[in-house]
């Protein structure tokens, strides 16, 4: 079966690029015939690292069959198409109630920006991202620069031979403990230059001088990392965008982090809500059904909003401050779903019991708890909800600047 499908996706590439409904139909058929789908659907792991290893295998499988290559340009390991193909890819995984491989999240955030600002690096490394053999992490936040990103102090100094030497400290790096490469925003200007003196670099995680310290969330899972740079040498060809142009690169990336990633992650959220429905349908829980409907509507509204952004991105539009609305809506929807799961399945979440009996799967329980903890980060990472509200107040509502 896999051989036949493999041939089909390659052969039908042009049809899929021009006809997204056809891509949807055939991908749906592939997933419904997939003999490993049940294992994939019910795969739960006790650690973040094991989860990523499993997801990398899923990426590899979908990549060799060709399905996750639609929506990415051929020069970077894709088969052509645009953001709408990627949206459909996530929708169909959701339709099949299959978990989206976690590498897709960081790929959605960083991939498009690499294609625009470092096409050579994108051609070199994105194929490996798409086939699951490597993934990357963002090095933006620092211990002293969270919401106030433009105050960051990690320095990159011209070494006089065309390269740079990076010194400093990044933190809250998602997928950082296992990432192969880091997208690092560093200061090349004066300490006072704020957002004007920043430059983006791609740094190999195994470069001499890079130290990665995994950070366990309250769930115990090592989802994040702190990264130390100690005289890390970066060649000139690892620049992403222009020297001093790091803020523009970051803003471009933010459109994807707030729009495209938002659309993708809402498909994961809908699948979680779908699993909750199955549980509620079999176990009564009638009292929570209206709240379930309200949360579903909020998720749909966030999805409709992010879909308008995906359409703009697919037509090469810029999104700008409007993406703060997307970010606020999808982050709050993600939290609302996880709160509903916590409240409806409280007995299981708190004591690991169902109807006063100890439940069998520890990994499933641990995963559910980890999802709840990680969902708390939705309104913190990528710019806190407070930062987004400030942007909306300034740039969309046109209110007077905030008094500080």
């Amino acid at each position: 079966m896999s051989r036949a499908v493999h041939t089909t996706v390659g052969e039908r590439r042009r049809d899929y690029v021009s006809d997204v409904a056809l891509y949807r139909r055939d991908f749906r058929r592939y997933l419904s015939d997939l003999d490993t789908a049940d294992d994939w659907r019910e795969a739960f792991f006790g650690t973040a690292e094991e989860g990523l290893t499993h997801d990398a295998r899923v990426m590899s499988q979908l990549n060799s069959a060709g399905w996750n290559r639609l929506g990415w340009p051929e020069r970077a390991g894709g088969l052509g198409g645009n953001e709408i193909h990627r949206a459909v890819y996530y929708e169909e995984l959701g339709y099949a109630m299959l978990p989206i491989p976690a590498q897709q999240w960081t790929l959605e955030v960083m991939g498009p920006t690499m294609l625009k600002y470092a096409p050579g690096l994108a051609e070199e490394y994105l194929p490996a991202y798409l086939n699951g053999s490597e993934w990357w992490a963002q090095g933006f936040s620092e211990p002293e620069s969270g919401s106030d990103l433009a105050s960051l102090r990690t320095r990159a100094v011209d070494d006089g031979a065309g390269g740079y030497v990076i010194n400093g400290n990044k933190i809250w790096t998602s997928q950082g403990p296992t990432a192969a490469r880091l997208l690092v925003l560093a200061r090349t200007g004066t300490p006072e230059s704020r957002h004007r003196g920043l430059t983006m670099f791609m740094v190999d995680a195994h470069s001499p001088g890079v130290t990665i310290r995994p950070i366990a969330l309250a769930s115990g899972r090592r989802e994040l990392a702190e990264v130390f740079f100690d005289d890390v040498r970066v060649p000139h060809d690892r620049l992403v965008g222009d020297v001093g142009g790091g803020w523009a690169v970051t803003m471009h990336l933010m459109q994807y982090e707030r729009g495209m990633y938002g659309y993708a992650v809402l498909n994961k959220v809908v699948t979680e809500l779908g699993r909750l429905r199955a549980d509620m349908a079999t176990r009564g829980a009638a009292a929570s059904r209206e709240r379930f409907a309200r949360v579903y509507i909020d998720v749909m509204a966030a999805q409709a909003r992010t879909a308008t952004t995906v359409r703009k991105l697919a037509h090469d539009g810029t999104v700008g401050p409007d993406s703060s609305i997307d970010k606020l809506l999808f982050a709050e929807a993600e939290k609302a779903v996880n709160d509903l799961i916590l409240d409806v399945q409280r007995e299981w979440m708190i004591t690991g019991t169902r109807d006063a009996r100890v439940s069998a799967s520890h990994d499933e329980l641990d995963t559910a708890r980890a999802e709840w903890w990680y969902s708390r980060a939705a309104t913190i990472m990528g710019g806190t909800a407070e930062v987004q509200r400030g942007i909306i107040a300034d740039h969309i509502l046109g209110l007077p600047k905030e008094k500080r």
Binding site: E91, M97, R289, A293, M300, A301, A304, L329, K401, E402
Partner: protein, 335 residues
């Protein structure tokens, strides 16, 4: 360049004549809003060449009427027209108005068992179309003479509205209309949701203007974090509802229309609550405009299923259609 009109229309759904149409309609509704009366808008639209406009822009034209109505607070029979358009093929001659379900009944006709019951917007007039609940949840329609009904003007939350409770004998022929009624309800829900979003836009704008000029502690209160964030949250909720509504207008079926109206009703509440808080005492007064957009929205939300009713209906539906392994229904269409 010869194709540019078609190309632009394909890209935006509209072409360069659209802004002029939009301006004319907004002006018309602003004129109508000067008067307190409920207006039959047909003749005024005919003057604008409405049938051609509707033929060229079937979605945008309808959307525009309700956007204009929300913005202007005019009282018209636009809703009756939208619903009658879905039911017209069943009738031999056109009807002049529509008997809407009582609020407690949501989207289910209140007439049945020989009795007309429901709500009429505006004064009694001509021939009224009456939806009737028949056996097993089906719906039929009939037409009654307005003269045969009794009217009692309702004591409405927004006292500027003319809603009447109508009652009388139901003795005409019943025409089976379940499919058409569902379409009429979806059309009404899209229209009402559009009006709610327009009302919310106005309420939000009023609040933004108020806190931009109101000075306390030596600074406009719009520069203080708490009111800024309250309005930003409300604006985000409103944009979510607007995006859902856009999906519904373009591709939506019945569930999509219900969801869009529920979201618009919730968003109107969220915007109203935030606006009423940040405007302070002046926003609660009769001399300030805010209450007009708040109260009108409460009325509009109540028609054809309030957000609470629609959420309850949706909850039931989502669990009725559940089967093992089945995903929740999706809303987005990429067209």
């Amino acid at each position: 360049m010869g194709n540019s009109r078609e190309e632009q229309k394909a890209a935006d759904g509209v072409d360069e004549s659209w802004p002029m149409i939009e301006e004319a309609v907004l002006r018309l509704f602003d004129d109508l809003a000067e008067k307190p009366d409920h207006v039959a808008i047909g003749p005024r639209l005919t003057e604008l060449g409405w049938s051609d406009i509707e033929a060229e822009y079937p979605v945008e034209a309808c959307e525009l009427l309700f956007r204009a109505q929300g913005r202007s607070l005019a009282h018209t029979d636009c809703l009756d027209r939208v619903m009658l358009a879905e039911l017209a093929t069943l009738l031999d001659e056109p009807a002049d108005g529509m008997v809407l379900p009582n609020l407690a009944d949501g989207c289910t006709p209140s007439s049945g068992q020989g009795q007309v019951n429901g709500i009429l917007q505006g004064a009694p007039r001509g021939r009224l179309l009456v939806p009737v609940s028949t056996a097993m949840g089906t719906v039929s329609v009939t037409v009654v003479d307005a003269d045969t009904l009794t009217y009692e003007r309702l004591d409405t939350f927004d006292s500027s509205m003319y809603w009447a409770c109508v009652a009388g004998p139901l003795d005409g022929d019943l025409i089976d209309a379940s499919t058409e009624w569902n379409r009429a309800i979806s059309a009404a829900q899209r229209a009402l949701a559009t009006e709610l979003v327009a009302l919310s836009d106005r309420a939000l704008r009023i609040a933004v203007e108020q806190i931009s000029v109101r000075v306390q502690f030596g600074t406009p209160i719009g520069s203080l974090q708490s009111p800024r964030h309250a309005l930003a949250d409300a604006a985000a909720t409103l944009e979510g509802a607007r995006a859902l509504l856009g999906e519904t207008w373009r591709h939506g079926g019945p569930m999509s229309a219900q969801i869009a109206k529920a979201a618009a009703g919730r968003a109107h509440r969220a915007v109203s609550d935030a606006a009423l808080q940040v405007c302070g005492a002046i926003g609660l007064t009769a001399e300030h405009d805010l209450h007009r957009y708040v109260a009108r929205g409460f009325m509009i939300d109540a028609l054809c299923g309030s957000y609470q009713q629609l959420e309850a209906v949706l909850a039931e539906r989502l669990f009725d259609i559940h089967s093992p392994g089945r995903a929740l229904p999706a809303i987005i269409s990429w067209g």
